[in-house]
Subunit: 321 residues, 2 copies
């Protein structure tokens, strides 16, 4: 029996194995992912992002516990695009594994690298699909940091949570502005700290300034103290409210269609590049171009024209790029 | 006379025009970039990154003034991948323009979007090439934030500066760890603030922990107060020391060759994707695939297989991806 079949029958070790195969770039893993695909699209995806130190991991633990109490199975994908440097995601994985180690209703996976078969959001999408096909009801995608990669990743979720924390100072304003528009829910965590009221007030003011169509979703600013479990039930209720909104408003269709398009585009981009790169690397074309560039005799624009003319069917080299 | 010729003769308005054409996605701009390419590779590139609020813009102004005193022409590229949200780069552009408006030896350009013809680092590379061909001696590439995009961008520079500031609290540790390995020079700006000693000490300790080969460059931690011009001459001296190191050690060859490879790969990736995307979007293939994905009848992995088999010469659809 193949990995996909085993996964569909609930074999957790097969799921872990497939995710590792995807990471390691085994092309056989693509066949398994193809088989799983018709069984995806059922899980509810929650994205969580925010600056380092905001307490996101603790919050994810608490949300997980709350959904477990409701009888839901929970998948967690912790994504750290920077962790070739920090090793952060792997560490977080170990800590969390301890807490949920005995719970078969929780499946945790860290993504610490950009992956062999494409970008980090591609890898995240593959892992989410495996968890979805496994029958996880809720999948939480957590990122470290608030860079563009992270924004792209959490946007894959149905509901995006931006976690803030009091007392990061005025310098955090720039970050706030940058992620204001992706949040469906704001959480001010560590809400017992000095300055929590101010952070809540500032976020609320920024939200009021945004223009919205009638009936459009208005993000709330919720307070939590994740370490003591305060505010978690309210947060989960807000998730369920947003989920209901997506369906009653019909936004879910636009969301799904945009998401499918993004996924397809990213896969196509990676695949085309890897295919052509493999050819020019092995037949000496690449070395020749790079040597010409070093001497400033070949420019990369013309080199790319030539590659396109040679490897794409009916390509028109005049389509500059 | 074409734009490229005019630029090579020192026409600043032609340079501004070409950069705008590149932004707007005019394919004619590629022909101009091809003509400029043989005249690039002479400028010294300085990258500057660090968290929001670290005072990077003021620092860049002071470095610019210092190089102007040495008789060098200075180009500045301010890159803000997040500014579709914040508008930050554009604002910064206007503020700085005032200061250097009358100085023909300074050319400033902000990049606020990912650009039409590719990613943000591709756009940055194009702008740097234009400034290089214009005869700018020093080109400063400044980013907001410290995300992966920014790291990729500042790595294009010969010398990478990471700017820190005292008093961002323990939460900044994660950021520090993430960018430690890309810095050739550390700057603790606003060094008159409380906690400056501690920040310098922490950075120095982290640097001491790193392993280095004999003779390898050891980054220094410098203090500046950019708003008062304190520490700028020492910083410029350090830049010149690193530049000299690159040449005496021979590292410059490895640097150039890696950079050329990165540039070529990114252009190739963008071009292949845009070419094929244009075809499947206009002939209905894309709409058909997306409709199949919505119904979970088509999986994106197989769809990409089919596209590759159809549009790449001699492609082998079994090469999964």
């Amino acid at each position: 029996m193949g990995l996909a079949e085993k996964i569909l029958q609930g074999d957790i070790r097969a799921a872990a194995r497939l995710m590792r195969d995807v990471d390691d770039g085994f092309t056989s893993s693509i066949d398994e992912l193809k088989q799983l695909y018709p069984h995806t699209g059922r899980a509810y995806l929650i994205g969580i992002t925010g600056p380092p130190g905001a307490g996101k991991s603790t919050l994810v633990d608490q949300i997980t516990a709350a959904y477990r109490k409701l009888g839901k199975r929970v998948g967690i994908v912790a994504v750290d695009p920077t962790s070739p440097f920090t090793g952060g995601a792997i560490l977080g994985d170990r800590i969390r594994m301890n807490r949920h180690a005995d719970d078969e209703g929780v499946f945790i996976r860290s993504l610490a690298t950009r992956g062999c078969l494409g970008g980090i959001s591609r890898s995240t999408g593959d892992v989410v699909n495996v968890m979805d096909a496994m029958g996880m009801d809720v999948i939480i995608i957590e990122t470290v940091g608030v860079g563009q990669d992270e924004v792209d990743i959490v946007r894959m979720a149905h509901t995006t949570t931006v976690v803030m924390v009091p007392g990061l100072g005025d310098d955090i304003q720039a970050i706030k502005a940058g992620i204001l528009e992706i949040a469906d829910v704001f959480v001010v965590n560590k809400a017992d700290r000095d300055g929590a009221d101010r952070t809540v007030r500032e976020l609320s003011m920024m939200l009021e300034m945004g223009e919205r169509a009638p009936g459009e979703w208005v993000p709330k600013v919720l307070r939590t103290e994740a370490s003591r479990g305060v505010g978690i039930d309210e947060l989960v209720a807000e998730y369920e409210a947003h989920r209901a909104y997506l369906h009653t408003s019909g936004d879910i269709h636009r969301f799904n269609s945009e998401k499918n398009s993004t996924i397809l585009m990213e896969m196509l981009r990676d695949r085309l590049f890897r295919d052509i790169y493999g050819r020019i690397a092995s037949n000496g074309t690449l070395a020749e171009i790079l040597s010409g560039m070093s001497a400033r005799e070949t420019d990369p624009y013309s080199a790319v024209d030539a590659i396109v003319a040679r490897y794409l069917t009916g390509a028109d080299a005049r389509v500059a790029g």
